[in-house]
């Protein structure tokens, strides 16, 4: 499904991702964990080329996202191809990034209407259904400013789902969600996985990783130091850095 080949990312002199090779299978839930600053967000953002990189290739369902390797040379794909490809990848940000000038409903209907040619009625029906899923039907017509942090993130998830993407990327999706809703959102996410959705999730909630992940990746200092089923990683990690990280995290 997602193939990452020889990905390198620099911020100036700072080598943030180092020769990442990774294959993520379809319909699975991948959780990325690791210390702060290890490059989790950066890796996730590279997947839909929001973070540009100069070296490597990432493909989704065979289609390149951002760059492709031609005879070992990494070249950028045309903008239109990238925009098309991004429609298949939903993204949920740590800082929500709702559109403040649009109502909750409009935040959700905008993209499907403009990009998938859905009628207003169709898009609204879909949006209402998604708002119901995240428990916010009654907020359909307010501006984002009037929502609490948790509510904002739920709208952001609904907005991404509205494009009916093949892959969903989450950068700490539940860190701002209130616990009553975490269960429901997980439900939604599991449902999506069943329907064939591939999900890549950066999170600090180890409990969630244990429960929901098919695979856990441990990133440290720009390198994938471990990748396995959650029970393996959490019960019997091989890498000493993983042990150290997990002991700190699980201590409280």
């Amino acid at each position: 499904m997602i193939h990452i080949t020889c990905l390198n990312k620099f911020f100036g002199q700072h080598h943030v991702l180092k020769n990442i090779d990774l294959t993520i299978e379809q319909g699975k839930v991948f959780v990325i964990i690791g210390p702060s600053g290890s490059g989790k967000s950066t890796l996730l953002r590279c997947i839909n080329y929001l973070e540009t990189y100069s070296d490597g290739e990432i493909t989704i369902d065979g289609k390149p996202m951002g760059r492709k390797l031609i005879k070992g040379q990494s070249v950028e794909i045309p903008a239109s191809e990238l925009n098309q490809a991004r429609q298949d990848v939903g993204m949920v940000f740590q800082s929500f990034n709702l559109f403040p000038h649009k109502t909750v409903l409009q935040n959700i209907t905008m993209a499907p209407q403009s990009l998938k040619g859905m009628s207003a009625a169709e898009a609204e029906a879909l949006a209402m259904q998604l708002l119901k899923k995240v428990g916010l039907e009654e907020k359909a017509h307010v501006l984002p400013y009037n929502l609490s942090g948790g509510q904002k993130q739920r709208v952001a998830i609904a907005r991404a789902l509205a494009m009916q993407p093949k892959v969903m990327l989450f950068d700490e999706p539940t860190s701002a969600l209130d616990p009553e809703m975490v269960g429901e959102v997980l439900q939604v996410m599991k449902q999506l996985a069943k329907e064939g959705m591939t999900m890549v999730i950066v999170t600090h909630e180890m409990r969630f990783a244990k429960d929901a992940a098919d695979q856990v990746l441990v990133l440290d200092n720009g390198i994938i130091i471990e990748r396995d089923k959650p029970d393996k990683i959490f019960v019997n990690p091989t890498h000493p850095r993983t042990k150290e990280f997990l002991s700190k995290v699980l201590e409280n």
């Binding site: 929001l50 903008a79 925009n83 990848v89 559109f99 984002p144 907005r159």
Partner: protein, 224 residues
């Protein structure tokens, strides 16, 4: 020495001034429309990664913003016939010159507002699959619009007054009408006050609309 404002209402004078006002309104509104168009083109040029477009925009800005409108007007209206032997029509030259001049100012207002938007907005738009121009049009510009409103209102009001320079290229407008009446009657202060009142009314209408739009487009997250 006292003033005698009754002179304003003598004969055709009021009618004469109102005709000037209508003309001023016509020229200001048309050139402001042109100004917004040009301003947008130049603003995006300045942000563009296409070198030639960016260079053109910077050159445009540096000339049209930095030199006096009167010089630009003269060059267009008198200079073109002298140099290229083409004929120029006063009122059309006037709208074009005003629009091009004001467009350079609008461009900086538009660019400044766009650049001040949180970059997370662009990321959210792009990650949904919107192209760069789509994200600009649907997400960034509508938010930047609110931040442009106060300075664009300034620019529009300023334009109504700059339009008085059109009288130097024979166009009839409000200030010119007052000058004619003043030259006739030597009631300088009286007629200046009279047109000040007319400008006051029209420009505060613009100011009011600007302020109403600001209120209308607030999202609640701003300071006030």
């Amino acid at each position: 020495m006292a003033f005698d404002f009754s002179v304003i209402f003598l004969g055709q004078n009021v009618h004469f001034l109102l005709y000037g006002l209508l003309s001023t309104i016509f020229f200001s509104v048309s050139s402001f429309a042109l100004s917004l168009l040009i301003g947008t083109v130049i603003a995006f040029g300045q942000l563009s990664s296409v070198t030639i477009y960016r260079a053109f925009s910077l050159a445009y800005l540096s000339w049209f913003r930095a030199t006096p409108l009167l010089v630009q007007l003269f060059m267009l209206y008198y200079g073109l016939p002298l140099v290229l032997h083409v004929d120029t029509v006063a009122w059309i030259s006037g709208i074009i010159a005003l629009g091009m001049y004001s467009g350079s100012y609008s461009s900086q207002i538009i660019r400044g507002a766009i650049q001040s938007i949180d970059r997370g907005q662009m990321e959210a738009g792009r990650s949904l699959g919107f192209s760069y121009p789509q994200t600009m049009r649907k997400i960034i510009i509508p938010q930047a619009f609110l931040r442009m409103l106060a300075p664009l209102t300034n620019e529009f009001i300023s334009l109504t007054k700059n339009s008085s320079l059109l009288s130097t290229i024979t166009v009839v407008e409000l200030f010119r009408q007052a000058n004619i009446l003043i030259a006739d009657t030597y009631r300088t202060m009286e007629f200046l006050v009279a047109i000040a009142v007319l400008y006051y009314l029209f420009n505060n209408l613009i100011g009011y609309v600007g302020m109403a739009l600001e209120t209308r487009f607030r999202t609640g997250g701003e300071l006030q």
